[in-house]
């Protein structure tokens, strides 16, 4: 609904997705900068994410794991390349060992996030993702295969309840 454009280039293994929100750039940036908010949208309901280290300063490493339906816990990390709050974030997203150190046996993908005001209290966010290979895409997708399925009403309620308490 809020996604305004999607451009996919199979030959370049690149996807650019643009979305607009009824919020300020600062509010949208917070979705990335606050780990507690981040973990409520990064993983699909079937693969919720937990961020165990989170600092968006350039050169920092963000560490997270996801918990799958069968209890599997793939670990991941971001290497923050660029951070310019609340406008721009560039990071390399890779797989990690259980202790959080990068697992270089797996390829990494690069995400470029651009956040800009478009007037009337609205903000546009674009995500540009580059993959080194189709294998890299398959591995990323294996962590969120169930994505695209409708959110169960119970899960929405659960988030609402947590929000009300917070």
């Amino acid at each position: 609904m809020t996604v305004t454009a999607v451009r996919k280039d199979p030959a370049a293994l690149t996807m650019t997705l643009t979305a607009e929100f009824d919020a300020s750039p600062e509010r949208v940036w917070d979705l990335w900068a606050d780990p507690r908010q981040l973990e409520r949208w990064w993983g699909p309901p079937t693969y919720p994410a937990t961020f165990t280290a989170h600092d968006l300063a350039p050169g920092s490493r963000v560490e997270y794991h996801m918990t799958g339906p069968s209890g599997d816990q793939p670990h991941g990390y971001w290497n923050v390349v660029e951070a310019d709050p609340p406008r721009r974030l560039v990071f390399i997203d890779g797989f990690a060992h259980e202790d959080g150190t990068p697992n270089d046996d797996f390829p990494r993908n690069e995400g470029r996030v651009t956040i800009e005001p478009v007037g009337a209290g609205r903000t546009r966010m674009s995500i540009e993702s580059h993959f080194p290979s189709t294998e890299a895409m398959e591995q990323v997708l294996a962590m969120g295969m169930e994505e695209g399925l409708t959110l169960a009403v119970g899960q929405i309620d659960a988030i609402l309840t947590v929000d009300a308490v917070a």
């Binding site: 809020t2 996807m15 009824d22 990494r108 080194p132 695209g148 009300a164």
Partner: protein, 111 residues
């Protein structure tokens, strides 16, 4: 194929329009690296490098026809990439929906 990825270098090459053009030209599967190199204002070595990146990504293959080696676009690889991008889009659409929900809810709480 076993490949070691050097993400930084590969990402830089992926952003290059030349690479996309090579994939299109290689659909016909008639040209070798030398012929391909003739289309671009860059060195043979530079074009060879782009082809190598495409090869590692599974988007082109080098096939022997007679005594020549030609670069062929891997249609299956492209199709696979297309399907994977569709799935990746679904993943991000889900994320955007959840982001929107979070923003909406934080407004309701502030109100």
């Amino acid at each position: 194929m076993t490949t070691t990825f050097d993400a930084d270098h590969i990402f830089a090459a992926l952003a290059d329009a030349t690479r996309r053009d090579i994939v299109l030209r290689a659909l016909s599967g008639h040209e070798g690296v030398a012929e391909l190199a003739g289309h671009y204002p860059m060195s043979f070595a530079a074009v060879q490098k782009h082809v190598a990146v495409l090869e590692r990504a599974g988007l082109v293959t080098k096939e022997r026809t007679g005594r020549r080696k030609v670069v062929c676009t891997n249609i299956e690889g492209l199709r696979l990439a297309r399907g994977l991008l569709d799935e990746y889009e679904a993943l991000w659409r889900g994320r955007i929906d959840r982001m929107t929900d979070l923003i909406t809810r934080s407004k309701e709480i502030d109100a």
